[in-house]
Symmetry: D2
Subunit: 281 residues, 4 copies
């Protein structure tokens, strides 16, 4: 980290709440020459979570050894997002285009501080969209029989990827693949979890006669639709809304809620603990 030329780094820490930890960390940063730009702090149930953005232009010495020592002493986890490297993102899709377009448009508008490295799909349909935005597209068809091979191919493509975004990818990833990307796979589920887990949530919502529908972005874990929730939003509906209307209204929610999760993740704003997230927004 020493010698970084410019701009702002982000430090995330989490661990058991110890008296004096905040000032130890502040002193460590100060003695390394890092000026704090921005700092957020959360404490809950004996745990603390902190996000510090610091000017890394003139670091007098490396932060990592000091952090490592502090972490050992306080039993904490930490990671630094250096200012000179944006996260490399892969987007997985099936046939629905709205989330893919939305992410690529937001990326082009500068809303997502990451590099979209590739789009991968089990169907060829969305290739023209990737092409329109100049992003490589990979078609990896999948059947029950070929799933292991498809996932092996997928893993090769994801080799140096920091974040996998399931933008209405209608396949369930194997536990093995999920385990390779802890807190690094984001999914959008088209309901207000924990309501309407599984398939056809808009149909389920219509049958139940709800007056609000929702969407949920979450980290993917081995259990379907049970991972830590990053963002949720809802919209009112009425008896006049058919399933198709719910699908239409839901698309807007899905786009916003998925994009928020991706933006917060690539900005290193999300920490996860005990099946829940802390989002420093």
């Amino acid at each position: 980290m020493g010698g970084i030329a410019s701009a702002v780094g982000t430090l995330l820490v989490q661990g058991p709440h110890h008296k004096g930890f905040v000032s130890s960390l502040a002193q460590l940063l100060a003695s390394a020459g890092a000026t704090v730009v921005d700092s957020s702090h959360h404490a809950e149930a004996g745990m603390f979570f902190q996000r510090i953005r610091f000017d890394a232009s003139y670091l007098e010495r490396d932060l990592e050894p000091g952090l490592e020592a502090l972490a050992r002493r306080h039993d904490m986890r930490w990671r630094i997002a250096p200012p000179d490297r944006v996260k490399r993102v892969a987007i997985l899709v099936s046939k629905q285009e709205h989330c893919l377009y939305d992410l690529l448009l937001r990326h082009r508008a500068g809303e997502l501080a990451c590099a979209v490295e590739l789009v991968i799909s089990n169907h060829p349909d969305l290739a023209p969209i990737a092409e329109h935005f100049g992003v490589p597209f990979h078609h990896l068809p999948i059947t029950a029989a070929t799933k292991p091979m498809q996932e092996a191919a997928l893993l090769r493509l994801l080799d140096d990827i920091d974040l996998v975004v399931l933008a209405r990818y209608m396949q369930i990833l194997s536990p093995e693949l999920v385990a390779r990307f802890p807190e690094r796979i984001i999914n959008i589920h088209h309901s207000f979890l924990p309501a309407f887990v599984g398939a056809s949530p808009y149909r389920q919502a219509h049958e139940r006669g709800v007056k609000v529908i929702g969407a949920t972005s979450h980290y993917v874990t081995a259990e379907l639709d049970q991972g830590p929730i990053i963002d949720q939003d809802t919209i009112r509906c009425t008896h006049r809304d058919s399933v198709e209307d719910l699908v239409r209204k839901g698309r807007d929610l899905e786009k916003r809620v998925l994009a928020a999760a991706v933006r917060w993740h690539v900005d290193d704003r999300v920490l996860s603990h005990g099946g829940k997230t802390v989002v420093f927004d």
Copy 2:
């Protein structure tokens, strides 16, 4: 109905969708001398639902025989809310005051076009509130052993009541009592149903780490928290919200969502079919 002196009556009809029904109904109203003030119509899955408000000041003849004939021909249900009779409402509470205050304040402000006849509770705590608003208060304590007797007493108090509002009444009514008031008991559940059915929904929500909480008002049926939903609303929450914060935020939701359901019900805006509601707002 003939001879009503003034003001506006409301007609609600529902039944299988028949060609020509709308114009038959319009002609029936016209020939009785009723001027339509306002009309809403909904059709779905072979059913239609209509709400007509009409000037009942100068009805030349009674509407009821004509409606009855039309209903037999078209297999429809109908009811008329005459302009000269407001619904009589009973509010059931336990120890929490926020929904009771809210309903009584809205009633006093003219938001709820009904008569609040009495407040009933299994605890004495909220008696001073009823007294403050000049509403009779009845204390009907309940234990597992005395439940049948308590419900018998309750039924006597509800004898000429049109609508029962469970404003955080923490008791489950017996199926027999529920059957006496079909689509005439409204409950507030402090979650976004169908998520977090049953006890302690805010605690459940906190444990799951949701980013939105909700409240649901619904007609009470024999199955717990499964009745037709009348209104729902949600509010964002974050990792900073403790269970107590969710309870606090939720109180605002509960008040609004329950009051909306009561207002729509007493204004004859709600029809129910197949476990869902049509709300003509």
Copy 3:
């Protein structure tokens, strides 16, 4: 109108509130063989507004003469949207792409029941987007000196257009052009009107320190930002939001609010009276 092969027509009427009008209209439709599918009604300040969707498959006779007679008798305005003709839409843009993409994507998804005939811009920048969606693009540059000529060219392109959508078109149309399309030009203004009229509303909002920002879609009239409002929506913001954050958050609002207005207009859900709109949603 007689002899229309299939599907649903829409009738919009507005005028002074006359006793018996609703049933006259119902009888007229019935006698022409039109079955009412859906009907909404609004009365306010001595005016009534009605939208009726009717099955036009088996019209026994033309509705227009009867409507014309009724209109003369009741001093009302009416229009019929026949089922076999979708509105022809032109989208005008400058350099910002988000609303254009959004409209074209929603159109492709079937959310907007119209034909997007052409995209017109005073800059060439967005031509590739129109091309990507297969819509003709016309570049009509404009300067203070060439404005009359540009508008003449514009008018020729708009010759058979039913609706003009200003999707962040940064030019002010001349009163003459506006007068040619009464209630047929929709603009998106990036503030909660009447707050922050004119230029740079997000900058104005940031300077005032508001905690909510908004967007407004409205019909264009001769007075800048004063036309009848069709839709508005808002989103919370905080002290942490820079002008750029407001612009980002606002883009989402602008897209939704403009798309809603276009959808309602092309579905013949919007009536205008006294500088305000009635939206039958």
Copy 4:
């Protein structure tokens, strides 16, 4: 401050952004024996704002001299809210009861960490409400002629008051009185400022035909409705909403938005700078 027995103090600081300030402050707190419980930080346009909650149970030495020295060096403002003193609040009302009830109910529910010392009104109407909650009520009638005397009486009543809440108090305070309570008078305005400044905002909103209405809580300054905004919220409305409906919907907004401002203020979450607020929520 030395010797405080228990609980959590709050430190608010604001000033020009200086390198190293954050760590100076952290060291100062650490050396006094204060453990940071919670910390928020905001920087904008060369200014920084920070809120630190610290465990003040075992302060080894007084914080104030160190803060004073730091403040002189960095040209910053600071204030400490000691853990053992809640703010003393006066509520001013006229004839409308909804905000008064709401504040008193929230206070009783523990939502507002302050002491409601007295209710003051230019009308006697709401005295029974104050009495119901056991809060002293003072009736100070006002006419154009008696305004100076009334304000003199008002000032005497406000002698040891920390926060004045104008809960639909329909009088304009004199600049002299306002100057006595800088950033310590909170008003609720029943519109989305800066739209609809001044009288009858709901009527203005209805005439303009807006599709969203709002409410704004703000610090009172000498200029009417121009003070720093603390909170705003909005609700959708339609053509069906009469002025009375807007008033009804608005009451809910007013209550929430005023209560949020009071809660944040008494929790020392609000800093003001350049006509805007920083709210550490």
